[in-house]
Every structure is written in C-alpha cells, then in structure tokens.
Amino acid sequence: MDVLSGLAHGFSVALQLNNLGWCFLGCFLGTVVGILPGLGPAATIAMLIPLTLKMDPASGIIMLAGIYYGAKYGGSTTSILLNIPGESSSVATCIDGYQMARKGRAGAALGIAAIASFIAGTFGVVALSLMAPPVAAFALSFNSQEYFALMVLGLALVVLLSGESLLKGLLALLVGLWLASIGTDLFSAQARFIFGQSELLGGLDFTVVAIGVFAIAEVMASIEDGEESQILPVPKGILNLLPNWQELKACRFAFFNGSVVGFILGVLPGAGATIASFVSYGLEKAVSRHPEKFGTGVPEGVAAPEGANNADTGGALVPLLTLGIPNGASTAIMLSALVLWGVRPGPMMIQESPTVFWGLVASMYIGNAMLIILNLPLVPLFAQILRLPVHMLFPLIFGVSMVGVYAATGNVFNLGLLSLFGLLGFVMRKLKFPATPLLLGFVLGDSMEQALRQSLMMSQGDPLTFVERPMSAIMLALAVIILISPLLGRLNRARLRAITENG
C-alpha cells in the first residue's frame, strides 16, 4: 500500500467520530499531564492501558499516542511561567522562556511554544508517513561510535552556551559529567560516588537537578535582588498576550531547525527529546546574528527546543512502528499496549496492520491540529497566573517543585537533594558560573561514557575506530571546529590589533 492510499485509508479511520473523540481525549490528557511537573506521559499511558484493553487497537493507540505527543505541548507551560520544567525535554525552554515572561512577554512565549510545537509536530508526522522505512535503516546504521561523536558534538555546544566565561562554562560542564557518573556503572556494577547512600545507586534524577538549579535558585536570586515587592508585568489586551509579527518572523529558522533536529534525533534509539531540545537550542544560537541575546528572552530560544521535542515524537515512532524498537519509557509502554491488543509492531506491521498504522499516522495530523486549537486560546488564560501577587507565586513555585519531585521519585531523600541543588544553583549564579553547561553535561554524561566504552569494547581498544567510520569522523571534526572557533576569533582580533598598531 503506497503512501497516498495508506493515508487515505488512515484518514477514513481517524475521522470516524469515536476516533476523533479518543484523539481529543488523549491530546487533552497529554496536555494536562505535560503541564504538571512530576507526572509524565509514560505513567499516564501505563495507567490507562487496562481501560483500553477492550477497545479497538486503532482507537486505543490513537488515544495513547495523543497523550504522548500532547504532553510535549503542555510541558512548556510551567517552564515559561514558573521556570519549572514540566518535562525533562522542556528544560531548554526555561532558559529563554522564563526570561520572556519576566519581560512581560509570557503570552508571546507560550504562543510561540504552541506554534513551534504544531509546525514541528506536523513535520514529524509528514516525515514519518513518507520516509519511515529508509529512516529506520539510517537509525540502525548508527553504532556507538556515532553516538559518541554526536554526544561530543552536543558538548561542543557548551562553547556557545557559556556566556561570558568559557572557562567557567567548561568547569560547569565537567561538574555535570561528574554528577552524571553518580550511581551504578552499567559495565562493572561498580557503585560510583554514592557517598554510602543506597538511594543514589540509581543515579541522580534529572528533574531534581534541573528544578533545583533553575527554579529554586532563581527564586532565591529574586529574593536577594529585593524583587519580591515587584509584580511581574503582564500586558493587557489580547493582542499583547500573543506573539507579534516581529517575534514570529524571528523564529523562521527556529521552526525549521527544531523540526529537523528533533525528528532526526528522535529516530535514533540512543538519543532522546532532552538531547534534541538542547542541540536545537545550541544550533539556533550558533546561527543567530545576535547570539549574546540568548538567555535574556529571545523568541527563537523558545521556538527551537519546543519544536525539537515535538518533532522527536514523530521520529521516535519510526523505529517503534517499523522495527518494534522503543526509544524511551513512553514508546516502550505503547509497544506493550500494541502487543496486548494483538497488533505486532515490527517489520511486518505496515503490511499486516495498515489500519492501525495509517490510522495512527492520520490521527497525528488531526491531533496536532486539535492541540494548537486547544492550546492557543489557553495562552491568555495561563498568562494570568502571573497576575498572582508575588507572595503567592513564589510559594507556589516552591510547592510545585517539591510536589513534582516527590511525585516523580517517590521519596523524601530526593527532596533533600532538590534543596541541595537549589543552593548549588544559587551559589553558581553568585559566582557567575553558567547553569546550562552543567545540565548539558549531566544529560549527556552517561550516554557519552557508555558510547565511548561500548565503542572501545567493540573495536577491542582501537581508538581509530572513531575516525575510520565516516559519520563519526565528520561529527567529531565539526565538534573540534566548534571548540576551536573562540580561539580563532581571539587570534583574529589579535592579528587585527597587530595590523592597526603597526600600520
């Protein structure tokens, strides 16, 4: 069945009234789940599986998938309004999103997040419809060497995310790598840096670190600056609560960037939405004409990561549906749901279960449309949260942080860690150490080390394996170029100075 007839068949399934209803329910639930920190789409999907057992497989997967990609729409809400990432893939959105909110452009930020999510989400589905099998083959060709090179390239972005001091950015990155090593080593079962605490055997939870270093530290900084008496500006009038034409124009490349980066990284089973959002953010900053403005509240700093984490869902469904390989917790559960319904994701799925496959794909077009219709009108409503007096908003931030962490981890030990990371984040701000490289190092550290050791195990210790394989060689070369570029800039300025002094 070729693409067009498949899609036609799929739309005939997805447009049935009951499936439209399930799609809407899934998208709605997903949005709510994405907004609440601590509750993730994986958990929600798992809890709803028993209810869907009696349903038609197409209807069931339409609803569950709606939760999955719907959550990516909601995740930006608390990131922008409260600086608390609703999902781990929404952390990069906090960086510029919250700053936009502080400048009074919260509505614009939320609107741009929704629009970017829609564009990139639709791109992801289009790519899924058209290119699923060849893209799947590409995903399989990626081995640990390529993953390692990709992680190094991601880390090279630290050069761009460090703000004033590259030295401090690199140090923050190294601390992030250290934090990532805390836990049990996969290859040797060696417990590393756990300080005798059995709760740390599983490693640090990303939400704990991110919320501590971002949200808690930010609140402390505001208190220190005496801002507790100021009210955050909330513009009046519906037009001011949505992005203006200028902001949308600034995001043109970001929409494209987020879509492509998100989809490609979504397809790779070893990458993830969090990595995709950081890479997309870094790329956007790299090609920007005003990179120094990133971090102060630029709309493209919201559009790029938000787009990336949505396009990632389309990408992640490629290996799931065409190969039966899940990419993360949510896709793993959808896999077990599909198996429970008797649909078998794998090489034969498109031929054997075209109704489910194409019905799902078609429903994602519809779902993305539903989500933008659902989310955009809610933007002015959510922006009103910032009207709350600061003496209510800050306790809310503390409360949401605590409840989110407790809901995600289930113990009070992690709340203690949250407070420690809050203090760390505050101290870092005082000492002008940038927080983003720390988080980047933390996110990439494990994957990078594993990829490195896997590669060396597979090549029996031969380090040339990284340059013998073309893809990894290219990515490593790019990383080196990025890392050297500030030095080249400095050399250039010194050369120009020498010329003008002598001339």
Binding site: T184, A191, L200, I325, Q450, Q460
Partner: protein, 326 residues
C-alpha cells in the same frame, strides 16, 4: 462465687479467646500495597498491574490492590521500603532476579530477599531466546561457539548490565566450553536490539515476546532457547541442553515477597490469593502470550528455590571476576 470457680471461668474464657484467635484468618484491613521496583510503565509495573487487574476483575480479594512504585537503584529502593515496613501485613512486593543479585554485588544494597524478607510465592519462570541476524552464517549454538573459539574476544553479544541474566548465561557457557566473547552493555532494550539488527554485534539473548516479531519478519534467527523444555510455538528451536550446553536453568524468576515478620496467617492468605489468581483464564493467557512458564510455588518451596538460585548466581558472578560482597 468461690475462688476456684472464678479461676476456672477465667481460664475457660482465655481458652475460648485463644481458640478463636488461632482460628481467625487474616483478612486485609485496607488496600494492599504492591511494591514494584520500577517506575510507572516499566516491565514490572505492567506485570503488577496485570495481576491487580485480574484480582479485581475476578473479585478474588475484598479490597483493592494498588501498585506502589519505588524506583531507584535497581531493586534497592523497593527492598529498603519493604524492609522498613517490618511486620506490616498489608504490604507485598514483586521481586525479580535483581532482588537477588543487587545485594550480592552492592555494598549499599543491604537487604537480601531470602533472609531479610518473607518469600511468599514464585509466579513465573521466564525463558529467553538466543538470536542472531537472519543473514548471519551462524545456524546453531555450536557454530557460534566454534567461531568464538577461533576468534577469542572478537564475537560480540549485546545485553544489559554485567549482573543481568544474559551475562550469567554467558559466563556459564564460557566456563563450560572455554570460548570467550565480548559482552557489550546497553542500558535500553531498544539499543540492544538495534545493535544486533544493525550488524554491530553478533548475538543477543532476549525475551520471546521481543523476538517473535523480528523472527516473523525474517530479520532474526533463533539458535537456542534458555529454558528447561522447548517452548510452545518454537518447537524446532533446541534448548541449550539439546545443544549440549549448560545454562538453561538461568531463568528470570518473578514472584511475590512479603515484609519481614509478616504473620503466618497473612502469608497463607496471600499464597492462596496468588494461587487462585494464577488459575484464572486471563493469567494463563498472559503466560501464553509471553511464553512464560514455571509452576506456582508456595512460601517454603519459593524460599528453597531462591536460596539455591542466589547461591548459583553468586558463584557464577564470583567466577566472572566480580566483587561479591555478601
């Protein structure tokens, strides 16, 4: 009333009271907490929820069974939690192999399943399949062993952590045959399978439910099964024993454990509840779909089984060169 009559009456009353309490059966006084060591949506979480759903649907218990997630540190958070609920009759946990292996190799995982908790039942023994790519020249385990001996250390297997079942099987076979091949750990099942399908590793050991679709699609070939008998639906796949190799008893065991100091009545109650659950149609369907096997074992047999199994794993890991601390 004379003093003697009074005493007699007292003794009679005490006797009657003691008799009734001895006959009193345990009844759960509220929702039962079913502790799982994974987050919502993980494999164990789904198993626990399946059990809970069956119990509710068939009305096998007068109260709800609610799944409590205690992820972190493999099994450690869940094990610590169960230990902390000493004597609580309302808390049970779902154990798998790592509840046995974690305390063996981790200093910080202080609570052993067999000694610090109350084993209640063993529910499933889960087999595994040894697979290679369909276009590989390897047609049987003997082929694989031969190639591994010709190129020591160059053949590659993808799997989970070094204490996982796949590696234990590998260690046992390596010891028996003298062959040696590399074990490459990947944290996620998706990556392991992708590594095999992409041609980056030569072989992997995985669960029947993960493998069946790939086999049907013509991408993978099964060369042996890690199970005591040939698996239904895979009748022409030899077991390890058929191939002349040890290791077919390294199964993934899953079962239920109670808190330390749980009362004997409560243990009997849960044993009976679980036995009845495993006799339902839905449970049998669940077993079939996943190719799970294993007879239901009660508390005493489960404890014996786990003790022996723990000892076997301990020896294998020690011989593999891992530091065993308990």
């Amino acid at each position: 009333m004379s003093k003697r009559t009074l005493l007699a009456a007292m003794f009679a009353a005490i006797g009657a009271f003691a008799a009734t309490t001895a006959q009193a059966e345990f009844k759960p006084s509220g929702p039962i907490d079913f502790v799982v060591h994974g987050g919502p949506g993980s494999g164990n979480d789904v198993t626990a929820r399946t059990l809970a759903t069956i119990i509710e649907a068939e009305k096998l218990a007068p109260v709800r069974v609610q799944v409590v997630n205690k992820p972190g540190g493999g099994s450690t958070s869940a094990a610590n939690y169960i230990y902390s609920k000493k004597g609580d009759n309302q808390v049970i946990g779902l154990y798998t192999n790592i509840w046995l292996t974690d305390p063996l190799v981790q200093e910080a995982a202080t609570h052993r399943l067999v000694t610090d908790m109350t084993p209640i039942a063993r529910l499933t023994m889960e087999p595994a399949l040894i697979v290679v790519r369909a276009d590989s020249p390897i047609k049987s385990m003997q082929d694989f062993i031969k190639m591994a001996k010709e190129k020591p250390g160059q053949m590659k297997e993808s799997g989970g952590s070094i204490t996982s079942r796949e590696n234990v099987v590998r260690q046992i076979i390596q010891k028996a045959t003298g062959a040696h091949w590399a074990f490459i750990s990947f944290p996620s099942g998706g990556r392991r399978l992708a590594a095999l399908l992409g041609g980056h590793v030569d072989m992997m050991i995985l669960e029947p439910s993960e493998a069946s679709e790939q086999v049907r699609g013509g991408k993978l070939r099964i060369i042996a099964s890690v199970s005591e008998k040939r698996l239904p639906g895979f009748g022409d796949v030899p077991t390890l024993k058929d191939s002349g190799l040890p290791g077919d008893d390294v199964v993934q065991a899953r079962g239920v454990v109670g808190t330390p100091g749980m009362s004997a009545d409560a243990v009997a109650y849960y044993t009976d509840l679980l036995r009845r659950t495993t006799q339902t149609k839905e449970w049998k369907k669940y077993l079939d779909e996943n190719s799970f096997g294993g007879d239901f074992l009660g508390p005493k047999e489960t404890k014996e089984f786990l003790t022996t199994y723990e000892g076997k794993i301990r020896n294998t890991l020690k011989e593999a060169g891992l530091k065993v601390v308990r």
